[in-house]
Assembly symmetry: C4
């Protein structure tokens, strides 16, 4: 059984004058996400990993009003799957832990992610609904859009996707309790080892990256592509097109 | 007849350095609502109850420019239904009382609400129009969307709605004078005792909650669902779907 | 011939610490309008009248970067129709006068307006295009929408329009040179004496009011209705509906 | 071979208290572009020319977080086409050079532009997709919209386009590597000598102007027209219409 880390003054974990410190960065990121319509009501969430320390936005907070004092902190070393109760190094006085926690941890432990973002973007939800109407498709695919170059090739692979590559994002079905998504998210990661995101039907999306910069920019690029996909569908334009690798410029 | 409360210095009721004081919070909330397109022109409103004291945004103010000095304050103990004239503990120098006042009071007295918000969101108006076109339906229903979990189960009930639950929001017909909506809003509350909102055809929506946090987050979640509903309709996707309680993940 | 007003130090006309002074208010309003998409590029404009003094945003300025030093000031008493050249009490060093000037003056002199706003809102342009497709209709009409109550009944009339009233906004055809719109705008004011706005086909809209508050809130309410109208059209919903004056609430 | 400029303290090139200095202006412009959805993820870019000095936003930066320290500076005099490696007077410590650089330089050297902006606006992408569906059209054309007056008549020509003029923006096909677009962008400039912009299929748009003001305002007006064009298409309204030069106002 893991030996639980003891911290003398837990609030030191969330106290810093550095705006890049996770306890400051999560609130500022969430405030930005709120303006983008990603974390409406109290939906969505965000987590940053720094070594073995994991910082998490809590459940039930208005995302644009979050403070460092609202942040949960846990150590990956303390987590024991057999323990039903999760151990925190530091807990905020009021809010409950985020139900996204096991999903964030999956990205951290299985993909070495440095940051994981969960949004309820209506573009993401609409994409999953359009795929549901197409015979309950379990994968979102789009190619030949420049913004695809915003995504890494995959965990452990160097470089980014190319313009002509097909971006594939798996879709899992939603469950009544968010933590029950974990096994399905992990299965989707197995089935799509290169993905940095998993869509959840009628719910939203989880997006991660090696660090905050990559998670946030990939999340933006993905929401851009979800919006474009819905608009393309409305205009009768297909998401997968057949353009030759080298498109000759006609004179 | 109720004995009217007398306050020596009424402006003390709206003077505080605490940003969470209702006289400060209503202006900051309304400024936020203005950026969301909920209180365009001088439409919409907001009210906060603190014990028997009720604070109200006035009529005719530009919502993003509201100041604490613009706030009306009344005491629930002073209100007598037979009195045509409403008694205020504190009135702003210029603006008239909000015509939403009796509707806000209905939420406070019948549902113990701590905050009530009224928006003219175009998403809300469009939903009522789509329902009108469907045989003048008097209820908005949607299920199997994660954001539904943002709503309480109902007045006096613990916990929130589940993912598979059907969210039902009654619709009442608009009247030429806003205060005349009151009896219909109260009837809708009777018919739908678990609702935290009432849509008004071709007008907007009233949303309340036990406190400011709940009213504001439920209002956000509802507007998110109204927007999603309109977009789903445009894409030919039904608001009510038939997904089994436990959706088995197919391999 | 009018005796031209001479001002010793013209920059005094645009110098004030009061944020409500027209030379400060026009820049702050235009910055707000820019965020709403009303004054994109260098399109659109705004003018405020204070007695005989008229303050105008110049031509060619980026509206969100406007400064008091960019403001033109003229006196209504100095304007002589036979003079081709307009006389200004104060001119900014760089920018040319707004081509909207005669249209703003029409609102000030014929309707006693205190403020006139010109936007290139794409919702306004789309409405004029939809009307053009309907046999080149010269009037936008909508009824039975609560937001209609945001408009005054008309010049010289007390009170606002009611929920069941029909809001009518005349449409004039655009001309290659903006100042040539003046006679058509004036003719539309004659034909629709109660209007506070005139739409310009494929161009935008002019909205005025007795003062800044009324012009700005009416402009907001009108853009809200333009957006709603386009969305209603996309959903196959008519702008004019037949609801009885008193809509009985069915049990 | 060009004699490379040597600068004693390169960071002096990007250090200034003047907010209009290119090293300060590029970050503030990009922050504004981010709010408009033009530079999502790390897409898009911006460059300003001051004489022979060219300032460039780097690759891979979150555009709303850009700092003067992130800016590349090169001298046009140092650039030699035969050199594969580009010579910079000043390089930021972390970020790589923008792949847009040769395209920006084409606008500077062939059109004497003072500023060039590259966006991934989804409106631009959708327009190129609609044109692709229309037989792979290589030009976007729209007329009889007031906002067209926001564009200069062309390089070396005085004055702006008129309301009845047809705005034509060439479209080039995207290539897997952005710098490979250069020859096609230059060919489009040749074929459309009056254009201030080139659309890139499934990618975005490049817009330039004689100075920052003109580039930025033309970029705004173009994005406005792209959005309008998509919305017009959705409403079944044609981009090219047949309105007589002088539209008689009917009585």
């Amino acid at each position: 059984m893991a030996e639980t880390t003891v911290v003398d003054n837990p609030d030191q974990l969330i106290t810093s004058t550095d705006p890049e410190h996770p306890a400051n960065l999560i609130p500022s990121l969430c405030a930005k996400f709120w303006t983008l319509g990603w974390v409406t009501g109290t939906g969505g969430g965000c987590s940053i990993r720094d070594g073995n320390l994991v910082y998490l936005a809590p459940s039930g907070v208005q995302k644009e009003l979050m403070k460092p004092a609202d942040i949960y902190v846990l150590s990956l070393k303390d987590q024991e799957p057999s323990l039903k109760q999760r151990t925190y190094l530091r807990s905020p006085p009021v809010y409950k832990p985020s139900q996204c926690t096991p999903l964030f941890l999956a990205a951290f432990t299985r993909r070495g992610a440095g940051c994981c973002i969960h949004t309820h973007s209506h573009w993401a939800v609409l994409v999953t609904l359009l795929l549901e109407a197409k015979g309950n498709s379990r994968v979102f695919e789009i190619n030949n859009i420049e913004q695809i170059k915003g995504f890494g090739k995959g965990f452990g692979k160097a470089g980014n996707l190319g313009y002509h590559d097909t971006l594939r994002i798996p879709v899992i079905e939603n469950t009544p309790h968010e933590e029950d998504l974990t096994e399905y998210l992990e299965a989707a990661m197995e089935q799509y080892p290169d993905t940095y995101a998993v869509l959840v039907r009628r719910h939203g999306v989880y997006v991660w990256g090696d660090n905050v910069h990559k998670a946030k920019t990939q999340c933006e690029s993905l929401d851009y592509l979800f919006q474009l996909a819905v608009e393309m569908h409305q205009l009768g334009l297909p998401w997968i097109s057949d353009i030759a690798q080298i498109a000759p410029q006609r004179s």
